[in-house]
């Protein structure tokens, strides 16, 4: 039986897929605060979309609740603005139903890691091919400034006037520990790298988690300045690039060397160590990914940016398709009369 859904699923796009970023802009005003990190994320997503070569009707953005979650309204593709924390659960059902769709999730640190934490970790382990962009601003903004699961200890917010007591989640470690196959981090002020990370997420056949440091000008302004501002970022952040040694610093004179499992900072300027002694990033090494992700809240270490891990693993929806193909392909399979009449049935004449 061919269903309408089957027909739409396999329908070819009429005309060329020749878009410009403008084609992805929905005809409504963006309502984030002036200076919000969201603008950059939206712009970079719209910029990379034409290059993906995916027809607009095959792209769906799903969001939860929060500032970030207004995102689908701004994209001229299919979109659902859903419930607080539930975007990944809804998207999982849609992706399993319709694996050919390109599915994107716009979420925030509260939406994704707090109320939606359960769906997040389980989508990571199932490896549903979703592209999750998490706007991390370290605060609940739409509810006007309470601390979030990525707020730092001591942070002053409306609901922590005397300082946050909780330890924060490190999103990259949580994603890696939950089995996410692609884990990356970028920040709003680096459009080039963000575009690269979003492209990587789009191309990755599996669950992709891109954490983006997004400045909230109203409730947590400057939270990530150390890692994102021109004056300080070279000394306090490091870009992970596959196959390249880990070098950072204003003068590119520092590197990361592994001392056992412990990453340490060494100088490559004083002659003791050279580039050859440094750790070389390998996206397919999950042990390394954990070590690098765990540098995140270590004040002595530069904050890692880029792709922590990218490992190919069969997706959940593909496994569903395989199982269906196997069992529906057996001789005599799929006959509804066998579902209705079984060995215990009887006939009254």
């Amino acid at each position: 039986m061919s269903t309408v859904v089957d027909e739409i699923t396999h329908r070819q796009h009429v005309g060329t897929v020749d878009y410009t970023p403008k084609d992805f802009k929905a005809p409504i005003d963006v309502r984030w605060c002036a200076g919000c990190g969201g603008y950059s994320i939206l712009a970079q997503v719209q910029r990379i979309m034409p290059g993906l070569g995916i027809p607009k009707e095959k792209i769906v953005f799903i969001s939860g609740i929060g500032c970030s979650s207004r995102f689908p309204y701004y994209m001229d593709v299919y979109g659902v603005h859903s419930l607080h924390g539930r975007a990944i659960a809804i998207a999982s059902g849609l992706k399993i139903a319709r694996p050919e769709l390109s599915l994107w999730i716009a979420t925030g640190d509260g939406d994704c890691m707090s109320i939606g934490g359960n769906h997040f970790i389980h989508a990571c382990r199932r490896n549903v091919n979703l592209n999750v962009i998490m706007f991390n601003n370290g605060v609940y903004s739409l509810t006007k400034g309470q601390y979030s699961p990525t707020s730092q200890q001591g942070q002053i917010t409306k609901s922590s006037p005397l300082g946050v007591l909780d330890d924060p989640f490190n999103p990259a470690s949580l994603a890696l520990g939950s089995g996410a196959s692609l884990v990356a981090r970028g920040y709003d002020g680096d459009p080039k790298n963000l575009q690269y990370l979003f492209e990587r997420a789009a191309q990755h056949n599996g669950f992709s988690f891109v954490e983006v440091y997004a400045n909230c000008v109203i409730y947590n302004d400057g939270a990530f300045d150390l890692f994102t501002r021109k004056e300080t970022r070279n000394e306090h952040s490091i870009l992970l690039e596959h196959g390249k040694p880990l070098i950072f610093g204003d003068n590119k004179d520092k590197g990361i060397k592994l001392d056992g499992f412990k990453p340490t900072i060494v100088s490559i300027a004083d002659g003791k160590y050279s580039v050859n002694d440094l750790l070389v990033h390998d996206e397919q090494d999950s042990t390394l990914a954990f070590i690098l992700a765990n540098m995140t809240y270590n004040p002595e270490m530069p904050r890692p940016m880029g792709v922590f891990q990218a490992i190919e693993r069969k997706t959940y929806e593909q496994k569903v398709e395989d199982q269906i193909a196997y069992y529906s392909g057996k001789p005599g399979a799929g006959k509804l009369e066998n579902l209705l009449i079984d060995e215990d049935s009887w006939e009254i004449k």
Binding site: H81, S82, I90, I96, L340, W346, I348
Partner: protein, 612 residues
């Protein structure tokens, strides 16, 4: 010896034993055989909620009750005519349900010192004359199967496990049933294990022969077959009927099926069945929690799938926010709630009808949705199709209420001819010309349905209030009022698309019994009994609870008094009162047990003594 033959209209038997004694199996086999010879059948499995309760204990008793007969059988019956008890605990637990004078076959090997101690019997009840009100037949069934299979190669442990089949063979003689249906089943089950198959067949036959030749059983009971309509039948549980119903409803809508679900008693079997339907291209997700169960179904529905989620009370509590989302997204979704005793964890394996309020009102904001309820195990199939029809046609979530009693019990299901079931027509649109996401079918008020993949129809929907037609986000006061009114009107309009309520008995008069959902069988039995006793009482049973059938108000106003029996503290009664300003009398039972016919009879008789 010469055996006597006694003809019966119907009988109630119960197999009871330890969890490992195979009582559910022989109960099922007995009911299938009874169905196959044209009796109507209704069953009730009664097993412990412990997974492997310690052997011989009172709380480890597992039982299976069957009522079968010539006429329509609406319930598994009340008092038992024949009890088969495999050990002391199963006798103790089940004795209160046995009719005075009834036959009790006990396996005397299950009454040794240890069994008696575990059953907390001070003295052996087989020896102390405490069972003198019954015809007790103590048989060493363990010894009988050992004797029968003494030359067999199978292990002594397995030999002892065939005692349930021996007992089944005896009951087949007692009620004059053929062996071949069970033999065929054994061949299917043990076809590849010749020893085991042969042993079971021998023991089945030996049980039959024993009852036939022994002087202990002097009477054989015969029950004529019913006038069942020609066709194929099978005994089916409510949960199985829901699972098959979902597949068939999706088929009738020409849509692929998706189930998002999380394990919960007593609804889990629906997930079990559906997860095995890969050959029918059914997709499912055993989600990480109840919320993801419903949310994944909403996602699949958004993608154009016939989507469902299955749960019980605590799960429904967790799903209500997402159900509200489906209401405002106006996406079709079937929510099956297999009701159990509450609040909280309550009585997980026991039936109740106490989720009606939650189905009706359990969402924040103005969020009406259709509610339907099944009346029997096999009716779960029909009402699943009905829930799907309403969901797809009106672009709305629909709640189907069944309960733990329907879910586990069985009755014969006349397997439908698929061509006779109604087609379901989704409102998919593919033409971009003049499309808007909240444009509606003027008849049904269902919004147009454009699914991802449809070129030129890209649009956004969401939980924020949307502008009529365009679907743009807006907080315009008049628009919100309008959208709330439209969503309500859409559900109210369904009244024109559901069957009228039917009154059995006089169409007006003094007393009407009004029931809903899973209590149908018990009330129907009571009603039939009362009518045959010449009592003036009428009966109406509801399967559509929101909206109510169009003629319900007129029916209610045609009676001076209305009795509403329900397994809750008065949900339907309250809704009837608030809807029609009509008061009624409640018969409210919340004991984790199904309604009994005699409870309704007693109440009606009590009411009829006091003329209004």
């Amino acid at each position: 010896m010469e055996k006597q033959v006694q003809y019966l209209e119907e009988a109630v038997i119960r197999f009871a034993g330890d969890s490992g004694d195979g009582m559910q199996l022989v109960g099922t086999l007995f009911s299938n055989t009874s169905g196959s010879i044209g009796n109507d059948v209704n069953t009730f499995p009664d097993y412990p909620s412990e997974i492997r309760a310690p052997e011989g204990t009172l709380y480890g008793v597992s039982a299976y009750q069957i009522q079968f007969g010539q006429k329509r059988i609406n319930t598994p019956g009340n008092k038992i005519d024949l009890l088969v008890a495999m050990n002391a605990s199963s006798l103790k637990v089940n004795l209160p349900h046995v009719k005075k004078g009834a036959l009790i076959i006990v396996n005397s090997a299950g009454f040794d010192e240890k069994n008696l101690r575990l059953a907390k019997y001070q003295k052996n009840p087989l020896e102390d004359n405490s069972l003198s009100d019954y015809q007790v037949v103590p048989l060493n069934i363990s010894g009988l199967v050992k004797e029968e299979l003494k030359d067999s190669q199978i292990s002594p442990k397995y030999v002892d496990r065939t005692k349930n089949i021996f007992a089944l063979g005896m009951t087949y003689w007692l009620y004059d049933r053929p062996l071949h249906h069970t033999e065929k089943w054994l061949e299917g089950k043990f076809g590849k294990k010749a020893d085991i198959l042969a042993s079971n067949k021998r023991v089945l036959k030996a049980g039959w022969e024993f009852a036939n030749t022994s002087e202990i059983f002097k009477t054989q009971f015969k029950i004529k077959h019913s006038d069942m309509k020609p066709g194929y039948y099978r005994n089916i549980t409510g949960n199985h009927a829901v699972a098959i119903g979902l597949v068939i409803a999706a088929h009738k809508a020409n849509m692929p099926l998706f189930l998002g679900s999380y394990p919960i008693t007593p609804a889990t079997e629906i997930l079990h069945f559906i997860s095995g339907y890969k050959e029918y291209k059914v997709k499912h997700l055993q989600a990480e929690d109840e919320i993801a169960g419903v949310c994944s179904a909403i996602g699949a529905s958004y993608g154009g799938f016939f989507a469902a989620t299955t749960t019980s009370g605590p799960g429904l509590s967790l799903k209500v926010e997402a159900i509200g989302l489906a209401v405002i997204l106006e996406l079709p979704l079937v929510i099956v709630d297999v009701q159990r005793g509450g609040p909280s964890t309550g009585l997980p394996t026991k039936p109740e009808q106490s989720d009606l309020f939650m189905a009706m009102y359990g969402r924040h904001g103005e969020a009406p949705l259709p509610i339907v309820a099944a009346t029997s195990a096999s009716d779960c199939f029909d009402m699943t199709i009905e829930a799907g029809r309403l969901a797809i046609k009106y672009m709305t979530p629909v709640i189907l209420l069944t309960d733990g009693y329907l879910a586990q019990g069985t009755n014969p299901w006349k397997i439908p001819n698929l061509d006779e079931l109604p087609d379901i027509h989704p409102t998919f649109v593919t033409n971009p010309e003049g499309f808007a996401p909240y444009k509606r079918d003027p008849q049904t008020l269902a919004r147009l349905w454009a699914i991802p993949g449809t070129q030129g129809l890209e649009h956004r929907i969401g939980g924020l209030e949307k502008e009529d037609i365009t679907g743009l986000v807006t907080q315009d006061p008049a628009n919100h009022q309008k959208m709330v009114d439209i969503r309500a009107k859409k559900i109210e309009n369904i009244v024109n698309d559901i069957p009228l309520a039917v009154v059995e008995g006089e169409q007006h008069g003094d007393l009407l019994i009004l029931g809903w959902g899973g209590t149908y069988g018990a009330i129907k039995d009571a009603f039939d009994k009362l009518r045959s006793d010449g009592k003036k009482v009428s009966y109406c049973h509801l399967k559509h609870l929101n909206p109510f059938p169009k003629n319900l108000e007129q029916i209610l106003k045609s009676f001076k008094r209305i009795l509403i029996p329900e397994l809750n503290m008065g949900h339907l009664r309250t809704i009837i009162r608030s809807t029609y300003l009509i008061d009624s009398i409640g018969l409210n039972k919340v004991q984790g047990l199904p309604l009994n016919a005699y409870e309704v009879e007693d109440k009606v008789n009590e009411l009829l003594k006091v003329k209004e």
